[in-house]
Each structure stands twice: as structure tokens, then as C-alpha cells.
């Protein structure tokens, strides 16, 4: 408790120091929002395992450190790291330690009336639009990281796509954390406003220099208009000493399609929130893969709310845990009273490669309508002995056989990626997590 007090005091004073320099600090409406947020955060602090939605993830290691954002970035960026994660096929916005880097970004050609900007600039140029939309996807959300992000966010992406418009290429967000003398804090807020019939493909890539300790606390809001189509991929391959909170909150209007793929490989403590609310005949597909070892902890918290009839949701997450790693999968599907003819399917399969690894898998179906089709399945297991023997009987030693089977289990999720160079990038990241025996690049 004492520690809580201290850390909230610390961030209160950080806020007071920074508030004049925060993005959009001249905007009265934003100031009100930020002041309210820091007030809430000061009262409640970071989420506690006493909260049901945070039961399996204790963020104490984050509370024990004092993260601070260095306003003046003088550090050198590992350009090779940046290059290694950049997609040829996509336009890009690059953020270094939470600040937009215009010279490293390739901004897209815009259709008429569209906006694609970094958040800090957008607050200056599109204040009215942002005042109307910012925070709209967060109405039924509340926890400490959201307040924390609302108080401190420094930059991020703002997209506005008008009716029936589309970007000509996918858009990549590259978030790079560099080596700093202090425990660096980056607070990113993204907002996607995709109007009726518009479509976009967005790739979030989170990377950091190995061995470096920092905190990313990011919030992404998505407002998906009627008949819009949104595809997002999140690749989190950060330093194994870093901390990551990334929450994506989606509001899906009628007949909209939202497709999300999540790949979590890095970080000491990672929490991904992915929540969506579905109106009539909206469609959502969530696919995820988390692969962690050592003492890593990764928590995937998903929530799909069917609020109106005829919507469909499909979700598959796979987890692979080795050493003393700990994984959490919470998959909550809520079918509200009016959401008849809901069609929902959720499954989560986990592979425990060590006796000391742990997974807490919690599927949660809450159904208040009577004419629905909902299925869910969760498995936790080891590699299949019969499959290992089969490979051995073909001359492949057991170590290679296990690597092959583990890679195959994971690769099924990667195979779902359509964009060729993105698939390759994710596979490269996946391969890095494997002992190389038995896995060949040519397999890909």
C-alpha cells in the first residue's frame, strides 16, 4: 500500500512537471481530460490483482520502477534494428521512444478528405475532430493503465478515413525503444476513425534494444463505421527486460469487419487488452500467438461483446511457454439479451514445454440471449509423444523433432498472415525464439 502511494505521488509530480509540454497542452478540452485522468490514477494507481480482470497479472514490477519520459531524445537509434523490421510493402510512421520521427517515416498518399498524422500534430490541425472522437472507444473501459495513458500520452497515430475511402498501401507503425540512461516511459495513443465503407490495414511493430528496461503504455482506439473493413496486426518483439501494456479498444458499427492478429514474443511483463463491441451483423476475427520463455509473463485479455443480432466472432489464441514463463489467456464473450443469432467461436491451445511453465486459461462465456450458437475450447498440453516417435522413426532426433513440432504449432498462426513480407517478418521473429536445430528457413 505504501508503495502504491509513493508511485502515484511520483507520477503526479511527473505530470505536473510535464503538463506544459504534453501533446495538445494548449487545448482546453484535452487538459480537462488529462487532469481527470491523473486524478483517477492518483486515487487508484496501476491495476491490482484484486481486480477480477487482472487476477493473474501482478504489475508490481512496473510499480517498483520510476519510468520517466525523456523529452529531449539524444540517443542514437539502432538503424539496423529499424531497417530489420520495416515492411517494403507498407507506408510507415516511426516513433522513437514515444516521439514521432518524421524523417524516418514514409507517409501515405491520401485520398480526398483523409487524415493520416502523428497524434501530436493532429491535435494542432484537427482539434475539433479529435475532441469529438478521442476517448469514444473507451467509454466502457476502466483501469489504471487507461488513466495513465490518458494523462501522459505523448504521441501516436491519428487516422481519419472518410466514407468509402481506402489507403493504397498497408500502414506500418514502428515503435522503437532505444537505450537510455533512465527507465524510459513511452505513452502512445492511437486513434482510428474509419467511416462507412472505408478500409485500412495497419501493422503495429514494437521493438526495443535487447537488455534495455523501459515501459510502453499504449492505447489504441478504433471506431469502425458501418460496412468498414479493418485489418490489424500487432507484432511485439521487445527487449526481454521491458514492460508493455497495449490496449486496443474497438467499436464496430453494423456490418463492419475487424480482423486482428497478435504476436507476442518479447518483454518481461506484457499485457495485451483487445476488446470489441459488435453491432448488428458485424464480424470480428481475433488470432493470437504468444511464445515466451525465461521468466517472461504475457497476458492476453480479450473481450468480445455482442450487443445486437447476427454478429459473428471467431477467436483463436495459441500459447507456447517454456522455462519459468507464465502465460495468461482470458477470453470473454458476452452475448447481450438482444443479440440473437449470434455466432461465436473461441478457442485457446497452449503448449507447456517445461514443468515450471504456467498458463492460466480462462474462457468466459456470458450468454443472455436464447437463440445463439457459441462454442469454445481450451487445451493445455505437452507435445504429442506419438508425433515425436513418428519423426524419430524417420531419422530425426528427438530434440529436432520437438523443435519441429513446436514450430509447426506456432507457425499455423503465422500462416494466416496474408501480406507476404509481414509473414516473413513474423516468421523471422518466431525463428529467433527457437533453438535452430530442426528448423530451416527454407521451410517458410
Amino acid at each position: 500500500m505504501n508503495q502504491d502511494l509513493k508511485i502515484t505521488d511520483f507520477y503526479q509530480s511527473e505530470y505536473e512537471k510535464q503538463r506544459g509540454n504534453l501533446a495538445g497542452s494548449e487545448l482546453g478540452w484535452l487538459k480537462v481530460q488529462r487532469e481527470q485522468a491523473i486524478k483517477n490514477f492518483s486515487e487508484n494507481g496501476f491495476p491490482s490483482p484484486r481486480e477480477e480482470e487482472w487476477r493473474y497479472t501482478n504489475v508490481r514490477p512496473i510499480e517498483r520502477k520510476q519510468f520517466t519520459s525523456v523529452a529531449d531524445i539524444t540517443s542514437t537509434v539502432d538503424e539496423a534494428l529499424l531497417r530489420g523490421h520495416r515492411l517494403e510493402s507498407a507506408d510507415s510512421l516511426v516513433f522513437i521512444d514515444g516521439q514521432f520521427s518524421a524523417e524516418r517515416s514514409d507517409l501515405p498518399q491520401l485520398p480526398e478528405g483523409a487524415v493520416v498524422k502523428n497524434m501530436a500534430d493532429a491535435l494542432a490541425s484537427h482539434s475539433e475532430l479529435l475532441e469529438a472522437k478521442l476517448g469514444r472507444a473507451l467509454h466502457d473501459e476502466s483501469h489504471g493503465f487507461l488513466d495513465f495513458n490518458s494523462a501522459f500520452f505523448s504521441d501516436g497515430l491519428f487516422i481519419y478515413l472518410p466514407k468509402n475511402s481506402a489507403l493504397s498501401k498497408p500502414l506500418q507503425l514502428l515503435f522503437v525503444s532505444t537505450k537510455q540512461d533512465v527507465a524510459q516511459l513511452s505513452t502512445i495513443r492511437n486513434l482510428l476513425v474509419i467511416e462507412e465503407g472505408a478500409s485500412v490495414e495497419l501493422i503495429e511493430t514494437w521493438v526495443g534494444e535487447a537488455g534495455h528496461c523501459y515501459l510502453n503504455a499504449a492505447v489504441t482506439e478504433v471506431l469502425a463505421g458501418e460496412n468498414s473493413s479493418i485489418k490489424m496486426t500487432k507484432l511485439q518483439a521487445e527487449s526481454n527486460k521491458s514492460y508493455h501494456f497495449g490496449g486496443t479498444y474497438v467499436k464496430q458499427a453494423k456490418h463492419s469487419i475487424f480482423n486482428h492478429q497478435s504476436f507476442s514474443f518479447g518483454g518481461a511483463l506484457v499485457r495485451n487488452d483487445l476488446h470489441t463491441g459488435l453491432r448488428t451483423a458485424a464480424d470480428v476475427t481475433l488470432d493470437g500467438l504468444f511464445l515466451v520463455g525465461g521468466r517472461q509473463h504475457v497476458d492476453n485479455h480479450t473481450r468480445i461483446s455482442h450487443t445486437q443480432p447476427h454478429a459473428t466472432s471467431r477467436e483463436q489464441y495459441k500459447g507456447i511457454l517454456s522455462d519459468k514463463a507464465r502465460g495468461v489467456f482470458q477470453g470473454r464473450v458476452i452475448v447481450q439479451e438482444g443479440a440473437q443469432k449470434t455466432n461465436s467461436e473461441m478457442n485457446n491451445h497452449n503448449l507447456l514445454l517445461s514443468d515450471n511453465a504456467e498458463i492460466d486459461a480462462k474462457p468466459q462465456l456470458e450468454i443472455y440471449a436464447d437463440d445463439v450458437k457459441c462454442a469454445h475450447g481450451v487445451t493445455v498440453g505437452q507435445l504429442d509423444d506419438e508425433s515425436i516417435f513418428f519423426l524419430q522413426s524417420r531419422g530425426i532426433d528427438s530434440e529436432r523433432a520437438k523443435n519441429m513440432l513446436t514450430f509447426a504449432f506456432a507457425n499455423e498462426q503465422v500462416e494466416k498472415i496474408e501480406l507476404a513480407d509481414l509473414k516473413l517478418l513474423v516468421q523471422e521473429q518466431l525463428l529467433k525464439q527457437f533453438p535452430q536445430e530442426g528448423i530451416e528457413k527454407e521451410w517458410l
Partner: protein, 250 residues
């Protein structure tokens, strides 16, 4: 090629194989027949090195080397091949990758260089052509969603690619209709050679209509109770296994 001498094998302290001797020369085809529970599958599993079997007595020499001392992958690298009764499905691993990894493991064990992607592809396509298989097969995940017949054909393809010295086919006829059985048998026959030996393990005589063995051994209650030429199969077909089991008990 293979010398099995007074082999005993047990599972969980229960003796299943109670002293089997078997001598197989290069190029020979031996059929091992017998009723359910006679120890047929145990024999193939012990030879291939599956976990969970004890062999307190007897020895097995494969090309003059102690087979029972070898890890399963070493047995395979030495040229032993087991075609599974129930081939496993491995989602996410393509056939072509499995074949390449298996072939190169064997080549490296013999001190040869691994084949590169192009050479391997030429080689493996010559095998699919020989077995009249669609090349699309190569790019599917191992046995995933395959029919019973496709799974068995896939085993034969692996055999063709690995070019083993001794092939043990465990109930290769199970779950096959007559057309599939013909196709699989044709594949096996095309792989017969003066250097390569086969052990066909089967419950039914009908497989032997398609693959002619040189010798037939009848297994009952963990022992070979009768050995003979191909004519023994006809006798079994007529008489069933009843008299054999009686004889084993006596």
C-alpha cells in the same frame, strides 16, 4: 540383414513376446501373420524403438549391429523403416519439409552432404512420379485431413524417398478398400529389390494376394508357432487361426 534371436519383450511387466527368432536376408519378403493380441504390433514397435517396451532377453542384430541399443532415429538412419498402422497427423509441417529433414538426417549420419533445395526437389519429384502421386501432396501438412488410403500412400512415399534397407509394414492393409490396397501394394512392389527386405505384418491373408512373400510366419501368444512358404497363407485362409491358437496353448 536382420537377425532376431530369442527375443522377449514386455510392457508394464507383462510379457507379450515370449522368445522370437527370425532371420531375414537381403531382398527377402517375410510376412508375419497372427490373430489379434498375438504380439505382431509389439514386435514392430520393439524393432522400431518405440518407448515403453522392455527387452529382458534376446538380441536383435541389424547388419551386424545391436539394434536394441540404438535410438529410434539412429535405427532409421541405419536403414530401418517402420510404416505405421495409424500414421500421425502433423499440422503445420509440410510433407516436403518432413521428407527433406528426414533424408538429410540420414545423409548426414552417413557422412554425406545435405541435399540442397533444388536437388532435393528433383529427387522427391522423381519419387512421386514413380508412385504416380500428385505433387500437390508434397505441400500439404503431413497426413492432415488425408483419407486412410492417402495416409498409407504417404508412408510409402516416405519409404521411397528414404530408400531403407529393411521396411517393416505394420498392418499396412488396415482401413483400406480394395482399390486403395491395390495402389499401396503396387507402390510397395515397385520398391522391392535384391538389396531391400520387407516384413509385412498383417492379420489378413488378402494383402498377400498383392504382395507375394517368400516366407510366412504365424505368431500366436508371443511365439512363432509355424513358419513356411507362401502356401501357408492359403492354409490359414481355409482353417482360420483357431487351430494355431490351440497349438500355441498346448
Amino acid at each position: 540383414m536382420l537377425k532376431v534371436e530369442n527375443l522377449h519383450a514386455s510392457v508394464d511387466d507383462k510379457e507379450i513376446i515370449k522368445g522370437i527368432s527370425l532371420y531375414i536376408k537381403p531382398g527377402e519378403v517375410h510376412a508375419i501373420m497372427g490373430p489379434n493380441g498375438s504380439g505382431k504390433s509389439t514386435l514392430s514397435n520393439v524393432l522400431a524403438g518405440r518407448d515403453g517396451y522392455e527387452t529382458p532377453e534376446g538380441e536383435v542384430l541389424f547388419n551386424a549391429k545391436d539394434l536394441l541399443e540404438m535410438a529410434p532415429e539412429v535405427r532409421a538412419q541405419e536403414g530401418l523403416f517402420l510404416a505405421f498402422q495409424y500414421p500421425v497427423e502433423i499440422p503445420g509441417v509440410s510433407n516436403i519439409y518432413l521428407l527433406k529433414a528426414a533424408l538429410n538426417a540420414a545423409r548426414q549420419a552417413r557422412g554425406l552432404d545435405a541435399l540442397d533445395a533444388m536437388d532435393f526437389l528433383t529427387y522427391v519429384k522423381s519419387k512421386t512420379k514413380m508412385l504416380k502421386m500428385d505433387e500437390k501432396f508434397l505441400y500439404r501438412s503431413v497426413n492432415e485431413g488425408f483419407s486412410g488410403g492417402e495416409k498409407k500412400r504417404n508412408e510409402i512415399l516416405q519409404m521411397a524417398v528414404l530408400e531403407p534397407k529393411l521396411c517393416i509394414l505394420d498392418e499396412v492393409d488396415s482401413g483400406l478398400d480394395i482399390d486403395a490396397l491395390k495402389i499401396v501394394s503396387e507402390g510397395i512392389n515397385s520398391l522391392r529389390s535384391p538389396e531391400r527386405s520387407f516384413v509385412l505384418i498383417t492379420h489378413y491373408q488378402r494383402l498377400l494376394d498383392y504382395i507375394k512373400p517368400d516366407f510366412i510366419h504365424v505368431l500366436a501368444d508371443g511365439k512363432i508357432v509355424k513358419s513356411g512358404g507362401p502356401e501357408l497363407a492359403l492354409e490359414l485362409e481355409k482353417e482360420g487361426y483357431g487351430w494355431i491358437e490351440e497349438a500355441a496353448k498346448a
